[in-house]
């Protein structure tokens, strides 16, 4: 079976004036279904750039990105939009919820673009919100919720399309330790239900939840280690 994700010689360069900045300098790795991977590295190491490529939010300058056996590096904007909609869910550091929509509408938004009927949308969004423990706050707007609650709304939004892959870019970067733990446990639970989770972080504590760590430095992959999750809260589930 092909890996869920396979990247080969991924290069990303940014041009600013005459100088050329190599954010990614020939990165290759593969991720199997069901893995929980943490991408680590100091700032400027290329970890976020990698994440944006994996999430089809940005496209590589060179190299191949195979998602589920399909080469996505040469796809058009509309085809990439479809992949973002169907194949993966993205969780951002800054939540990125629409401030004027309530939790339910925010979660249901991907389904709008997947052309799901309104009734089914509401049902699925409700289920996703209940899953992340926000069944009672569906009509709250982002500004009426705490950071942890907003991030859970964002996770529900990533889950609602039932994509096999969840990408989280420093999902706890804006949260305190206790809330971070809650969010991480939620991601662990999601992973245990069969979803592949890839997470970017620079905190070893957070990386400790993962079963595999990719380390980046200066645009290169410098280490790829499997590990037994330290913060052994797996299986506890999340309430």
């Amino acid at each position: 079976m092909t890996p869920l994700i396979e990247v080969k010689d991924l290069v990303k360069t940014y041009r600013s004036g005459d100088s050329e900045l190599r954010a990614l300098d020939g990165v290759s790795f593969a991720i199997e279904r069901g893995e929980f991977v943490a991408i680590m590295g100091p700032s400027g190491s290329g970890k976020s750039t990698t994440m944006n490529m994996l999430g089809c939010l940005d496209s590589p300058t060179r190299g191949v990105y195979m998602l589920d056996g399909k080469d996505v590096s040469g796809l058009s904007g509309d085809e990439l939009a479809r992949i973002r909609n169907v194949n993966l869910g993205f969780v951002f550091q800054g939540f990125n919820l629409l401030p004027r929509l309530d939790a339910l509408d925010n979660v249901a938004l991907p389904l709008v673009y997947a052309q799901v009927e309104p009734r089914e949308r509401a049902e699925r969004a409700t289920r996703a919100l209940e899953k992340v423990g926000l069944g009672s706050r569906m009509r709250h707007r982002p500004s009426q919720m705490s950071g942890g609650q907003q991030q859970r709304v964002a996770i529900a939004r990533a889950l609602v399309g039932d994509a096999p892959l969840i990408l989280a870019d420093e999902p706890t970067g804006n949260l305190d330790t206790k809330t971070s733990e809650e969010i991480m446990n939620l991601l662990v639970q999601i992973n245990s239900e069969g979803k592949t989770v890839i997470l970017v972080t620079h905190e070893p504590d957070i990386a400790g939840y993962a079963s595999r760590v990719l380390r980046f430095k200066d645009g290169k992959l410098v280490a790829d280690k499997k590990q037994t999750p330290e913060n052994g809260k797996r299986g506890e589930g999340y309430v």
Partner: protein, 406 residues
């Protein structure tokens, strides 16, 4: 499609303040232009109406001043214009539609024991057409009356009221200079002329009757003046030239002699007066255009100021699977909805303001379709352009750039 419409509506609703401000710009701009142009138009319509009630496309021919022994006398006092001249014009000048020679005299009218001073005009059938007189009761004069120099008269509404009161004038006899005339018709009221004269204070008799019985003239066939109606305003100049040439030829004037008649062109007066009101309409329109422009700039500002927020929104939507086309459709619909609602509200406001001006200031207004089209078109264009353009640009960004837009 319905889905995107719903998204657009809820997005507008979610940003009530911004939507309202944008719409306000459209509403005020459109409303002001429509109302201002309506006021200006109303004024020029009124002026044109007054003038055209005297008869448009009109040329007045009057006999020239006799120049006897160096003493010049006033225009129209001579007897150089004859009924034959007028008939020649009617037959030979191709740009003429209608002519109405006139022989007028002031006279005391007598009916039973009442009397009333009025102007008695002898004329031909064309007169009613040219002056746009219509009969209210009885009939107008006809060819038979003219040929037989019948002693019949059509009277104006003022004469009917002053002389007959409640009596039905039709079939009654009035005496003019001691000659009995049978009243055969009463004219529909036309009110005051542009110069303030009562156009209903008149008695009209066949020209032949007037020439033979009412007016003593040096030349039995002479007329005091004639109205000439030109086929079309554009033929005014050629009609003037044709008539001048014809009359000079008929009067056997050598080329170094002055005209012994006078041609006066009613459109000259009409032009002067409509010119004035048109300038006013233009001025009002210009003022209103400024408010439209200011409204447009307001729309532009609000739209552009919200670009940062909207670009992030676009980034989020794209990150979760919206295609560039979805984004454009949504923003186009938003802009369309705003502009159209604002435009319609502005048109209604314009109509309401015009009505208000008419009702409370007694100033006639006439809403112009052109003003509606220009004002609504402009504000819709501004609204749609500045609503769509930033979104269009943002939709071309990569999602990550849209998300990071500052």
């Amino acid at each position: 499609m319905f889905e995107i419409l719903r998204t657009a509506v809820s997005s507008l609703w979610a940003n009530k303040m911004r939507s309202m401000l944008t719409m306000l710009g459209v509403v005020i701009g459109v409303g002001a232009v429509i109302a201002m142009v309506a006021i200006g138009n109303g004024a020029s319509r009124q002026v044109e109406g007054v003038i055209s009630s005297m008869g448009t496309n009109m040329i007045v021919i009057r006999p020239g001043a006799p120049n006897s022994g160096g003493v010049r006398q006033s225009v129209g006092s001579g007897a150089t214009l004859t009924l034959d001249d007028i008939r020649a014009i009617e037959e030979e000048c191709w740009s003429i539609r209608n002519v109405a020679p006139q022989v007028s005299t002031s006279s005391q009218l007598i009916f039973e024991n009442r009397n009333w001073p009025s102007q008695v005009t002898g004329t031909t059938l064309g007169f009613f057409d040219i002056r746009e007189f219509q009969v209210e009761k009885g009939r107008l004069l006809d060819k038979e009356d003219e040929r037989g120099a019948a002693k019949v008269a059509v009277i104006g509404a003022t004469v009917a009221r002053e002389l007959f009161g409640r009596v039905d004038p039709i079939g009654q006899n009035i005496r003019v200079k001691n000659i009995p005339f049978e009243v055969v018709g009463v004219l529909a009221s036309k009110g005051q002329s542009a110069t303030g004269q009562d156009q209903d204070d008149t008695v009209i008799v066949p020209i032949t009757t007037a020439q033979r019985r009412l007016v003593r003239s040096a030349l039995a066939d002479s007329v005091n003046s004639a109205f000439v109606q030109v086929k079309d305003i554009s033929m005014m100049d050629s009609a003037m030239n044709e008539m001048r040439a014809l009359l000079r030829q008929r009067h056997r004037l050598a080329s170094d002699k002055e005209d012994d008649f006078e041609l006066r062109n009613m459109t000259q007066m009409l032009n002067t007066m409509t010119q004035a009101t048109r300038v006013m309409t233009l001025l009002l329109g210009a003022v209103a255009s400024i408010s439209l422009l200011v409204g447009g700039i307001g729309i532009m500002n609000i739209m552009l100021v919200s670009v940062t927020e909207r670009t992030r929104e676009i980034g989020i939507r794209m990150a979760i699977g919206a295609r560039a086309g979805d984004i454009r459709t949504q923003f186009l619909l938003e802009a369309l909805l705003l502009s159209l609602t604002g435009g319609v509200a502005g048109i209604l406001l314009g109509f309401a303001a015009s009505l208000g001006v008419t009702r409370f200031l007694q100033w006639p207004t006439s809403v112009s379709g052109g003003a509606i089209a220009v004002a609504a078109g402009f504000s819709c264009f501004v609204g749609i352009f500045f609503g769509l353009y930033p979104a269009w640009k943002a939709s071309l960004l990569r999602p990550i750039d849209a998300l990071r837009f500052e």
